[in-house]
Symmetry: C2
């Protein structure tokens, strides 16, 4: 019975969270107030809140209570849009900070692209924001032969746009690997969260139309900042 | 300097973990032994182990130390293979337990399929295993009009196979949403892990060739049990 009520309460709160005016702002009322409003115990209320936290709809802020989470960014990996484009298309504000650029070997890039482990790469590390919230820490590794003066460019915009425009490269063969991870110390620091926070890792390997290796990138997204969406039409 | 060494140590350990014989089994030596072997401090060693844990390559077992994690299952959402097929194709052993079947309304299914919220669904909840490790807890919600005597069937195999074979349905239009989550109490219990453990949520909405709503499902995968892989060929 209590189990059923917790599920019912979760549904009601989930529904309320879809209405921006339901709680008069981004901050939820105190747990005591919520428990009274929904005529339930703190224990049951916390079960429902934990469920909604797991779904990424609310988050806790240290000692300041519960807050409505911004909706995740939708990203369709089968399409070709860059970060700035798909963030803006969702009515949100993108921003990019370049953290470092250098040239050096990187074993995972070499392995993914089928190159010797001592192969140097042009490396760009950057942090990307949606509505001023840091959501993505990424490292891009580009084969220098494909894009020799790459590091003289500006990387707050689209890297792929530059590879296409400045070097006439096609990004013909792309493979993606996505998995759930816990953020390492460096990524967590760059995203302003505790190490061990849940994240989503996206690794991309790109070859051009002649199947020459072009780029490898490693993205670390903040837990719940990203929702992967794929629409499939099937003739079967 | 210590930072650089931690990265180097992580690389070396990652490489060793790819060799099944490196540690003589699934269990890593004690941290003290590892620190001696790699001539490093426990602090630096633990940084490297935490990094590899985040990548899903190793996991901790209560008081029994560190273990090599089984490789994640690859799943390509753009293809049409069922769980049993893609698990076996990767040389691993699938198993399915049906936890319950009933018929009742479910708001997220109704919303996803564009049906009234009091629409009842045939509901199947099951738990799926790879090599005897519970990796997936899922609920399937099928529109009863599409598959009237559905619940009389056996659900340890492919649901889609039944929908195709018994009712001649096509699963023509599929949309997927994937996001990183923390597992709720029920899913965590079904997967034998602590609530709040990282997971990957997959939600699928399916319409037939006539765009009639067929099925909605919610999957909760254990953190790191699944790696989404997509290969894209681009003519651009």
């Amino acid at each position: 019975m209590s189990d059923a009520y917790y599920l019912h309460l979760t549904d009601r709160l989930r529904e309320l969270l879809q209405d921006p005016a339901a709680f008069g702002g981004d901050r939820l009322p105190a747990e005591r107030v919520l428990a009274e409003r929904f005529r339930t115990t703190r224990v049951t209320l916390r079960q429902a809140l934990a469920q909604l936290e797991g779904e990424g709809r609310i988050h806790r802020s240290n000692r300041r209570g519960w807050f409505v989470s911004p909706p995740p960014l939708d990203y369709d990996p089968t399409r070709d849009a860059g970060f700035n484009d798909y963030v803006k298309a969702q009515g949100r504000q993108p921003r990019t900070e370049v953290l470092l650029t250098d040239t050096r070997p990187h074993r995972p890039a070499a392995e993914a692209l089928g190159l010797p482990v001592d192969q140097p790469f042009h490396h760009i590390r950057r942090r990307r924001f949606v509505d001023d919230r840091a959501v993505l820490s990424e490292s891009l590794w580009v084969v220098p032969e494909r894009a020799p003066q790459l590091l003289e460019g500006d990387f707050t915009g689209s890297l792929w746009g530059q590879l296409r425009g400045r070097w006439g490269l096609t990004l013909a063969h792309r493979s993606l690997r996505l998995y759930s991870e816990t953020l390492g110390a460096q990524e967590a620091e760059e995203l302003g969260v505790a190490a061990g926070t849940a994240g989503l890792s996206v690794r991309r390997t790109i070859f051009d139309a002649r199947r020459r290796p072009v780029e490898y990138d490693e993205e670390h997204w903040l837990h719940n900042a990203l929702c992967i969406t794929v629409d499939l039409e099937n003739t079967a």
